[in-house]
Subunit: 496 residues, 2 copies
């Protein structure tokens, strides 16, 4: 078992980065972590022969069209993912943004070797009926210690989709209770709900945005509008879909144009709320990501979100901020919505991925009025809460939000430089913290850059039509930024 | 860490059970497991003072109306659940039927202490894009080793609801591909699906049964019809709902009446399929539980399921058997549908709970034609597969399916005796393996019996309107059956 010291205080000097030059470290005291590797190390093209053989085997069991390669997680460390062919890559996609503090972090290994924790892994409880003794304490020390402004209630769930599904249900229940004046449901409501008919199953809707991604189960999927392949052939709900602002980047250079675009979208939101109310399908809630991720890393301004929040309040809709991808520190604040600077940013905030457990916070007003309305067998997994507590300790101890802010600035600055250097290939660099992205001129070029970079030891993600997304772990330092930029620069220099 | 021997070869003699008499063991060689406890042991009424204080604390964070008491999982063993007030109860509900081989089974503790497994817990992969090296092997040794007849493909998911949601999606995709002759989707389909409209999001339906429970996310919930509280206020789909046979028990005494009732329901199924096709909402799949669990432990005959399977085939609908609660050995066979004796029992079989991971098997014809159609971040959790492999080893080594069959016979026989003894209170005893149930005369009586039994150290579950359900672990022996029946008998004797 790996228990070497995790060194988090490496400082590298950014010396010189101009056309064609390289990032180099000049610090004499390069106390490289004994825990992490130094750099990528490539033995084969990716996927290598072992991955290809395993792909064939798994292909007998599942569709493997989305599999990049097979991993050796035992040998992976920190920011470096090792594959079964012995290739070691700098990983800035981190399992679709779900590895918070890198691979095999010693603090998480310790959770596993602590005998007091064994029972939590071995006996997964039905949390809604038989919680463990330490459950309130664990919630307080983990999820409630990072609760969004104004929220003291949290419900854990197993994954991001279940979190959003249940957040939607919470909003529907709240909305209908309001509508019926908190009276008991009528006999007709009780009877009709059993056969999927209104008024028991009312024609309520959730307003979502074009380009949004909120998950793939049927409720979530009705609010997801990022790619056709996610939605094709699946029945859906007739719910309103507003345009998400298409902003120009860098944001600070297009303030006026972007404000106009945001105003246009907000106007459309209000129109849709009125229209759907008239259609008899009132909007119970509005759901939005602080940055649209899967849809192509689309940003909007704090002013946009603030006004949207006000529109929700004005029309009596709940305001649900989906932080499944933006939450957990990757934007430089723990929650993406903290950048808006509002005291009262949301009614519901859902999470998963870097939080290791799914779930959602909600304001007191939205608490379910009766048991078994928001319920399932497991209601989350306390073993994930154990890991989360330790992740939060590491984030605090190692000041990882500051690390993210610093690395994010270096990364975005580097992307700006690259797009200046390769304007025919790259554009629209954007980001918050290390939650960064850049567009290629088309999808084929994007895909080709990603494959070439992978073969040089840099593993990135894609999103939208032609976007490269960067989703490193919170332990991604400036040193790693420089590795990333050097590899990307090499790939672009070779690109025809 | 507990590592004592788990003794599984205790034989007890069933001596004498008549009115007022008690089950006693006369075996001289009572080699009681060093691992498990002997019997319940009660210190307070349940919930005790410590549970009540924790309830108050958790109530600040969540609705706790469904919480029975708080547990000390460290001290729980085998069939005995210990609460925070030191009460030790014989648990025949097992976390809503999700603890396969009892609490703190030594074989599962070993999984935790094996250093080779640490990385699997600490680095949860995005299985759909970056599976671990041993993933195909682990699937083969765990889930595929117990694959239902005719199925070689399996997709893991995080929970029961996600399993069913994705199983539904798999059926919709398969159905539409069939309809369009496996051609590429039209431009119109691609465009309309992005805005939730047909033909891209087609008006397809899933046929379900009254009394069914398939989960609580919006897709699943549209096929769930067990209790109003699950469905009230949540928008739904206009999908067909067939009557589930209301059989008389014991089944063997009402063969003719039950066959008539099943024929009536099957006729209705065909009518609904035709009607919904005419409505423009064709039935892509039929979903059914081998025994309706949450809806009140409603059984149907192998003949019913066989004919239903044929109806599905005749009308071109996929046939989805939801084994989330019936799977994992509790009926005496690994899958509930094995009791039907069909070579070709289903197109899709979903699971969760006792399997520790969610997921579903499907026939080759239903494999997704493209990547990313059935997808999410985690696609299950390999750490749960580790536990499942060990559970399957224990089931084989300890012949637990035989144990279940034997205990189940003793339990059902005991329930028959009790309902003969207390005909004004109990009726309709029924079961398969240890998946048993009995009805009280009304819900208040049922609830009162359950609370009294709990205070004597027997923790049972409820379902339907007035049913007590028994869902012990697979390590529930005849010895435990006798304890259960003795306590229940005491409660009934005291009941006014």
């Amino acid at each position: 078992i790996l228990m070497s010291l995790y060194c988090n205080r490496i400082s590298y000097l950014f010396i010189n980065f101009a056309l064609g030059s390289r990032y180099v470290s000049k610090t004499a005291t390069k106390s490289v972590s004994e825990f992490e590797y130094d750099a990528p190390s490539m033995k084969t093209a990716v996927p290598g022969p072992k991955s290809q053989e395993l792909l064939r085997q798994l292909g007998e069991i599942q569709n493997v069209g989305a599999v990049h390669f097979f991993c050796n997680y035992e040998e992976s460390r920190g920011n470096y993912l090792v594959d079964v062919d012995g290739n070691r890559m700098l990983d800035v996609y981190t399992q679709i943004s779900s590895i918070p503090i890198g691979y095999n972090h010693p603090a998480l290994m310790k959770v596993m070797t602590n005998p007091n924790n064994v029972s939590t892994f071995v006996n997964r409880p039905a949390l809604g009926i038989l919680p463990p003794e330490n459950f309130p304490d664990k919630l307080i020390e983990s999820l409630l210690s990072i609760a969004p402004s104004g929220m003291r209630r949290v419900q854990t769930m197993a994954c991001g989709s279940c979190s959003n599904e249940n957040a939607f249900k919470t909003m529907f229940i709240w909305y209908r209770n309001k509508e019926r004046g908190y009276a008991n449901p009528s006999e007709q409501e009780v009877d009709t709900c059993m056969i999927n008919q209104s008024p028991g199953c009312p024609d309520l809707s959730i307003l979502s945005f074009m380009g949004a991604f909120h998950g793939r189960t049927l409720g979530c999927l009705a609010t997801t509008h990022s790619k056709a392949i996610h939605k094709l052939d699946i029945p859906s709900f007739d719910w309103p879909i507003a345009p998400f602002p298409k902003l120009q980047y860098p944001l600070e250079e297009f303030v006026r144009e972007n404000a106009q675009e945001e105003a246009r979208c907000l106007e459309e939101v209000e129109d849709l709320i009125v229209k759907w109310r008239q259609k008899g399908k009132p909007v119970a809630g509005i759901v939005i990501e602080p940055i649209q991720a899967e849809g192509g890393d689309n940003h909007a301004s704090p002013d946009f979100f603030s006004k949207l929040r006000n529109i929700a309040r004005k029309h009596g809709c709940a305001f649900h901020v989906d932080e499944v991808q933006t939450g957990g520190g990757t934007t430089g604040k723990f929650w993406g919505h903290e950048h808006w600077g509002l005291d009262d940013p949301a009614d519901v905030v859902s999470f998963s991925k870097k939080l290791l457990t799914g779930g959602y916070y909600h304001r007191d007003e939205l608490k379910p009025d009766k048991p078994y309305r928001i319920f399932n067998t497991w209601m989350g997994d306390p073993s994930k809460n154990l890991f989360l507590s330790e992740v939060l300790n590491v984030i605090r101890r190692e000041n990882l939000l500051e690390v993210v802010t610093r690395s994010g600035k270096a990364l975005l600055q580097g992307l700006y430089t690259l797009q200046t250097q390769y304007p025919h290939i790259l554009s629209r660099a954007r980001g918050q913290g290390t939650f960064c992205a850049i567009d290629a001129c088309n999808d084929a070029t994007r895909d080709s850059i990603m494959i070439k970079a992978r073969n040089k030891g840099l593993f990135m993600g894609s999103c939208g039509e032609k976007t490269i997304r960067f989703r490193p772990a919170l332990v991604f330092k400036e040193y790693h930024v420089h590795q990333l930029l050097n590899i990307l620069n090499d790939v672009l220099a070779e690109h025809k």
